[in-house]
Amino acid sequence: MDDSILLAHGSGGKLSHELVEKKFLPFLANPALNKLDDSAVFEASGRLAFTTDSYVVNPIFFPGGDIGKLAICGTVNDLAMNGAKPLYLSLSAIIEEGFLLRELEQIVQSIKKAAEEAEVSIIAGDTKVVNRGQADKLFITTSGVGIISPGVDISGANARAGDKVLLSGTIGDHGIAVMSQREGLRFSMTLESDCAPLNKLVSQLLETSSRIHCLRDPTRGGLATTLNELARQSKAGIVVQEANIPVKEEVKAACELLGLDPIYVANEGKMVAIVDPADADKILAQMRKNSYGRDAAIIGEVTNEHPGKVIMKTKLGPSRIVDMLSWELLPRIC
């Protein structure tokens, strides 16, 4: 029988220490974490960005990633979207009694790999174990600190009329890959989640141009929700061309089958950049040089008209409003 997490692993006693020392520390070791003090101490100067996010994805393993990779990439990307260079993360795991230790180890290894790629250190952490049924296998919360270089001012409120809207690649990959694995909806496809740390791509773009106004990663709620957030925050209108939005054939087919619109499906390794039109082509070219921006495209522009609203020119020509996602995405019945 496989070893699994017991309530005693969360007691604060010997088993708790053993869990941290055997399952987490060997993979995530760094000087600040190794001290095992009550808090991590680090030096930083300048403008800092700070963020936190919780991850409760079901299933916890999906094509192209798992909850561990997601928890690192998500927080790294949230920092990067403000132009910050992510430095340190904290990681807190709530584990359901009975969770398999080998699965935990697999996830910690994936955390290690993602953190290495993003060049961030996990310097603080916590584990709790709850009774069976009180959590769904494993929940992870990560918080992160990053540093913003002088002169960098990126915010969802900075879009101006005339700016170009760039998208770093195909949409819907993560949402459809996860959905394809869900109980009762299993369909086989080669599609993988796009889950990836985008901080290096962002730093390359910041080196290329000082005229990047907004960055945001369209996660839950999809591209449509992100564009609406940016339009509202900037009090500007956005017009996008449906035909320019890159979507993989597998995602199109799955969306057609399920009655979903890819612009509402989640992504975990894509970003929207709103930039000065003079630098748009240069930024696009730089994006495409990075493997996470290979399929990047200019999908639209910012306008003075219809502030706070997103308009899409459909593939057939007519325009319509694109609203935020209002409820959970559900496959059609008929």
Partner: protein
């Protein structure tokens, strides 16, 4: 898998729209029966592509929307019974009933689970032998065969704790009821695509024959719908109404015999209660006597207070095609996808949700 792009081709669409405009001289009203068509029409802006002479109206083809409030109240009451697990398609849980909703019942502690297919509900029954699992069986001829298959599976595997609340409905009888009422004048019907995959084209023959109304079965991609509209306009202009298939990659005239046989084995035809329409004879599917132990209506009894409709909500009118969503005073002001008053704003196949989600800027400003 390039096929989807081909059915969304801009030039072909413009060509078809031009053809329709050339052909159309009379002012006509078409009804798209299916909510999936309403969504596609609005999502791709097809109303703006067709000439002003062609008016599109949504019909009753949204399974969640047509479920009568009294039936929803019954589902909610069943959810409150001890040791019962309710399984349902997702949209149902947000629809307001007379006094509560499934979502509310869930928050109060009822065990209500969203499933993507009926077979999942059977699996839940298998995994919970101490509980009664009831599946809320909504939908048209599209979902009925899978629900029938789930009853057969439960019988085969001797899963005694699985039940269906059979609210399944049939398409042609409700079309007849709408046409008999004469409330909405129609010249043509965009017939449902997925339903017709199952039933074929023959069951619509009475519509051109008895009512002189054109019928064309359509797929769900924008070019499918434009092709369908073109064929409808052609029939109407020529004065030669008939049933045509503009979705031949999915629909055969005889339909899917195997699916039919499955349905006929498990269900018998009876009356059904439709929101906004009332009792329509011969329009519902009831579980046959030989499978009655799977019939939730036979296995459980609940007492219900008389149903009440939400005040001011015009879902009934919208379902019959007697009003468009924007004619409802609550639309967008009180009734939104975040706080829906009626089911047409809840369901991903509901007309109000489609009008809300895919509105044009001009319409929104004039609103």
């Amino acid at each position: 898998m390039k096929f989807i792009d081909e059915y969304q081709d801009n030039k072909l669409a413009k060509g078809l729209a031009y053809k329709i405009a050339q052909r159309s001289t009379k002012t006509i009203r078409l009804m798209e029966f299916c909510g999936g068509h309403t969504h596609a029409i609005l999502r791709y802006g097809i109303r703006q592509l067709v000439p002003k002479t062609v008016e599109m109206r949504s019909g009753p083809g949204c399974p969640v929307c047509v479920t009568a409030t009294a039936d929803l109240d019954k589902a909610i009451a069943l959810a409150h019974l001890p040791d019962v697990i309710i399984t349902t398609f997702g949209d149902m849980i947000r629809v307001p009933g007379s006094y509560s909703s499934l979502q509310q019942a869930k928050a109060e502690g009822a065990d209500i689970r969203i499933v993507y297919s009926t077979i999942d509900a059977v699996e839940i029954a298998k995994a919970n032998p101490g509980k009664s699992v009831i599946f809320i069986g909504i939908g048209f001829e599209t979902t009925a065969p899978t629900i029938a298959a789930s009853i057969l599976k439960a019988q085969q595997e001797k899963i005694e704790n699985f039940h269906i609340l059979s609210l399944n409905k049939l398409t042609p009888p409700v079309m007849k009821a709408l046409l008999d009422s004469g409330e909405v004048k129609l010249d043509g019907i965009v017939c449902p695509g997925h339903v017709s995959v199952i039933i074929g084209s023959h069951p619509y023959e009475f519509i051109p024959k008895d009512y002189g109304i054109a019928c064309v079965i359509s797929g769900f991609e924008p070019l499918d719908i434009l092709l369908c509209i073109d064929k409808l306009v052609e029939q109407i202009e020529k004065g030669e109404p008939k049933v045509e298939i503009a979705y031949s990659r999915g629909v055969k005239p005889e339909g899917n015999r195997k699916a039919w046989q499955l349905m006929e084995n498990v269900f018998e035809i009876g009356e059904a209660n439709w929101r906004g329409i009332g009792i329509v004879p011969q329009s519902g599917l009831k579980v046959r006597g030989k499978y009655e132990r799977f019939d939730a209506d036979k296995a459980f009894s609940v007492s219900l207070k008389p149903p009440r409709e939400p005040k001011g909500c015009r879902c009934g009118d919208v379902i019959r095609g007697a009003a468009t969503p924007v004619e409802c005073k609550l639309f967008r002001k009180v009734c939104t996808p975040e706080s829906p008053v009626g089911p047409c704003m809840v369901s991903s196949e509901g007309a109000c949700a489609a009008y809300y989600q895919y509105e044009t800027l001009e319409n929104l400003q004039s609103f």
